[in-house]
Symmetry: C2
Subunit: 205 residues, 2 copies
C-alpha cells in the first residue's frame, strides 16, 4: 500500500471512530461532519475523500455496530447444552442486553433512512440478513421439515418480534421498562411463541 493510501485508511478509521463516539453520545441527530473534520484534523470538504457522503458514513458506523452485535449473539449461543428453545431465549436476551448497552448506536441502525431515490447498498442488506442466521439454526433443529422459505420467514418474524419488544421497552415514549423486567418478558414471549409454533406444527395434518 502506498503511503498516501495508508494515511487515507488511517484517517478514515479515525473518522469512523469519531462518528461512532458522537452517535453513541448524542444519537444520529448529533452528527455533524464539520465537527468530525475538526476532530480528526482535516478540512471540512476532505471528509468526502474518506466517505462518499453522510449516509455512507452512517452505514459504515452501522457495520461496526452490526459486527459487535453479531459477536454478542454468537457468544450467547456457546452454551451448547441448551435446548433449541432455550438457545433462542438466550439469543433474545443477548439482543436485549446489547441494545440496552449500546442504545444510541443500535437505534441508529434502524432509524437511519436512505434519502429518496437511493437504495440501501447490497453489502448492508447482506450484513443484516446475517443476523437472522442466529435464529435460523435453532429453528431448523426444531422444524426440520419446514421448507427453506418458511423457515426464513419464521427466522425474520421471531427476530423482528424480539426487536419490537426491545425497541419499545427501551423507548422513553412508551414508558421504559426496567431492564430486568424486559429480559424476563422477552424470555417469556420467545418461549411461548416457540412452544406455540411447535404445537401448531404437531396439529398440522
Amino acid at each position: 500500500m502506498s503511503k498516501a493510501l495508508e494515511r487515507r485508511e488511517k484517517l478514515r478509521e479515525s473518522l469512523l471512530e469519531a462518528a461512532e463516539a458522537v452517535i453513541a453520545a448524542k444519537g444520529l441527530a448529533g452528527l455533524k461532519t464539520r465537527d468530525l473534520a475538526q476532530k480528526i484534523g482535516v478540512a471540512n470538504g476532505a471528509v468526502y475523500n474518506l466517505v462518499e457522503d453522510v449516509d455512507d458514513l452512517v452505514l459504515r458506523v452501522g457495520s461496526r455496530t452490526l459486527a459487535r452485535l453479531d459477536a454478542a449473539l454468537s457468544a450467547s449461543e456457546e452454551a451448547a447444552s441448551a435446548t433449541p428453545v432455550e438457545t433462542l431465549v438466550r439469543i433474545a436476551v443477548a439482543y436485549c442486553d446489547f441494545a440496552a448497552e449500546n442504545t444510541e448506536l443500535w437505534r441508529a441502525l434502524f432509524e437511519h433512512h436512505m434519502p429518496p431515490g437511493k437504495d440501501v447498498p447490497e453489502w448492508r442488506v447482506a450484513e443484516q440478513a446475517e443476523l437472522f442466521r442466529h435464529v435460523h439454526g435453532p429453528l431448523l433443529t426444531l422444524f426440520p421439515q419446514l421448507p427453506p422459505a418458511e423457515l426464513g420467514a419464521l427466522s425474520r418474524s421471531l427476530f423482528s418480534a424480539v426487536h419490537g419488544m426491545v425497541a419499545l421497552g427501551l423507548e422513553q415514549k412508551l414508558v421504559a421498562v426496567p431492564l430486568d423486567e424486559l429480559r424476563r418478558e422477552v424470555a417469556l414471549i420467545v418461549r411461548a411463541m416457540v412452544k406455540g409454533l411447535v404445537l401448531e406444527a404437531k396439529e398440522r395434518p
Copy 2:
C-alpha cells in the same frame, strides 16, 4: 370564544394539517417550520404562537395519527363472534394494515425523540398506553387469573412484538416483505404466541 382565539384555533388546525401532509409525504426529516408558516400564510415566528416548539408540533400531529390508529384497531374488533385468539390476530393484522397505509406518519410516532432533558408529556404517554387496551381485553378473557401487572406486561409485550414485525417488515433495510406475506406472518406468530401462553398457563403449578 373571542374572535382572536377562534382565529388562532383555525390557524393551529391549518398548521397541524400542513405538518401532517409534509410528514406523510416526506417523513419527519422533511419538516421545516418555515415552509409550514408560508403554507398557512403567517410569518415564520408566528408558528410559535400556535405551538410551543417543533417537538410540540410533532407530538400534536402524532395525536391525530394515534386517534386514527385507535379507530382502525377498534373497527377490527367489531366481529364479536371471533374467539379471543382470533380477535388478537385481527387487531395485529389491522395494525399491520394501518402502518402500511400510513407508513411515514406511523413511523414518526416512534422516530421522534424529545431533546435531551425534555420529557415526553404525560398526555402523550396516556394516549400511547391507550393502544395497549385493545390487546388487554382479549388477554383478560384468556387469562382471567393473571395479576393485573402481569396482564399489563403481557399486553405491552404482545403489542411490541407485533410492532417489531411490522416495523422491520415495512423497512427497506431488512428487505421489505410483501404486505400479504407480512399479514400472514403476523397472524401466524400472534396465534402461536397466544397458544404458547395458554399452554404455559396450563402447565403452571
